[in-house]
């Protein structure tokens, strides 16, 4: 009985890969209340970091393989 009752709200996956309505609600609320400009800066900086990080890995791996 509980199984169906609990699935109605939350289903989880390996190590918390979850559908968690409360967490989703909190994060939506949190993001909505932050300044748009700050968020743009944070996310653009983050994306640039990931791009530079992957380019550096590719660069050093090619360099390493050429030796």
């Amino acid at each position: 009985m509980f199984f169906f009752k609990s699935k109605e709200k939350i289903v989880t996956n390996h190590h918390g890969d979850s559908i968690n309505p409360e967490f989703a609600e909190w994060i939506v609320d949190f993001i909505s209340h932050l300044s748009q400009n700050v968020l743009y800066v944070v996310f653009i900086f983050g994306i640039i970091f990931f791009i530079v990080f992957s380019i550096l890995i590719l660069f050093f791996s090619r360099k390493n393989q050429k030796k």
């Binding site: 609990s6 699935k7 939350i10 918390g16 309505p21 996310f43 590719l58």
Partner: protein
């Protein structure tokens, strides 16, 4: 000067970097699944439980995929499997953007993405072959990618969904996969060090060139079950599944029963992820210095203390004690169990063995979610369930401490010379 120093970096660390990024994007975006549920519910005029079906299918498929992908990695090599999985996850994410009902979502997310993310086996093989002395740190760093990725990608996906559309969020995930992760998987990953004429020992400063071997190394995966360590590791991982799944599902409900707001509980859970990102690397580092079984036993013990805090303490003190203490042990079991399995049983069937151990984790999780719920329904609180967690964690801790690592692990094995 600095550039020259960096270019001399051990190639295995570049592989760790590639897998870290892959883990950050893969795990980070899956953790954000819940963010889309309300939007989908409104767009498709369905309730949460109907959308949950896609995730429930994903959970089962992910559990079953682990041994299959592990076996494929044993046969075809981990790189091919990881490249294939990266491609499937990226394309699957773009396809999710084209979902127009729960059925299409279940196919793209529940089958395609969930199947292709069961890659613990191939990653374990790859890192085991590239790292010997710093295996724990390498595996910990890749796992930490998931925690750090969650901290960045969940807010990013939320931001895109709020300001643009949920479709754009999933297209971006797929785009990241195809443009950043896929090239790294193709060009950086190498199945073993001799592919680029590098020795696995070159990561260490000494000139040790011992070929890795162990008394329990197997050619058939079933032979591993004839020895104790396989059962000791599986028992531990089964308990790991019980304790992580039960908390993931019931933590917020427990908080509500303690008169804590769901928002604060959700926030404390994100702090748990952040603490976990640091602790998973630290546990890997210490496991390279000491016997890994000691760190694994300690991790289960610390998680037991976190469970005990939920029983003995009350309200917000219990909540935040659990977030900090629990966070110290959350994902730390994964690199330790993977490293120990590779050192006990070798590489030939490592993918299959890691897949099977992972299945024991998933089975434990499924049982726990059900039992915790039944206990709450019957008693109106989680105390009995939490006590079961404490006892199970003590058993897991004792099972880990009792592993005869010095006798069976390739780290300590010294073949008798004739």
């Amino acid at each position: 000067m600095t550039l020259i120093k960096i270019s001399k970096i051990y190639y295995g660390w570049l592989i760790v970097g590639a897998l870290f990024l892959s883990s950050a994007i893969g795990v980070g975006t899956r953790q954000g699944f819940g963010v889309f549920v309300d939007t989908w519910g409104e767009d498709w005029e369905v309730n949460v439980s109907t959308i949950s079906l896609a995730a429930a299918i994903g959970w089962l498929v992910n559990g079953l995929a682990a041994p299959i992908l592990g076996q494929m990695a044993d046969k075809y090599g981990p790189k091919r499997v990881l490249v294939f999985c990266t491609f499937v996850v990226s394309v699957g994410s773009i396809l999710v953007a084209s979902s127009f009902n729960v059925f299409t979502l279940s196919i793209y997310y529940g089958f395609l993405i969930a199947f292709a993310t069961g890659t613990g086996g191939p990653i374990g093989i790859l890192l085991s072959k590239w790292f010997k002395k710093r295996r724990g740190v390498a595996m910990g760093a890749v796992m930490a990618g998931g925690s750090i990725g969650s901290l960045f990608f969940v807010p990013l996906l939320t931001f895109i969904t709020i300001n643009f559309s949920w479709q754009l969020a999933w297209i971006m995930v797929g785009f990241f996969g195809l443009v950043l992760v896929l090239p790294l998987s193709i060009f950086v990953l190498k199945d073993k060090p001799d592919e680029i004429l590098q020795s696995v020992e070159s990561q260490s400063n000494n000139n040790e060139t011992k070929v890795e071997d162990g008394p329990l190394w197997v050619d058939k995966w079933s032979n591993a079950y004839n020895s104790k360590p396989m059962w000791q590791l599986s028992i531990g991982y089964f308990v790991c599944g019980i304790t992580t799944a039960s908390i993931s599902v019931h933590f917020i409900k427990w908080a509500i029963s303690e008169n804590i707001s769901p928002y604060e509980a959700a926030f404390s859970f994100s702090i748990l992820s952040a603490v976990n990102g640091i602790s998973v690397i630290a546990s890997g580092y210490f496991s390279d210095k000491f016997e890994r079984k000691l760190i694994l036993g300690m991790v289960y013990f610390v998680r037991g203390l976190a469970f005990l805090a939920l029983i003995l303490l009350t309200g917000k003190i219990a909540l935040w004690t659990f977030a900090i203490v629990g966070g110290m042990s959350w994902l730390a079991t994964v690199p330790l169990t993977t490293a120990l399995t590779s050192e006990f049983y070798g590489y030939k069937k490592l993918g299959s063995l890691l897949g099977l151990i992972n299945m024991s984790h998933q089975i434990g999780g499924a049982i726990a979610v059900l039992i915790f719920g039944m206990i709450y329904d019957y008693y109106g609180n989680y105390d009995l369930g939490l006590w079961v967690g404490v006892i199970a964690l003590i058993i897991a801790s004792l099972a880990s401490f009792s592993i005869k690592e010095k006798q069976f692990s390739s780290r300590f094995y010294k073949p008798t010379e004739n």
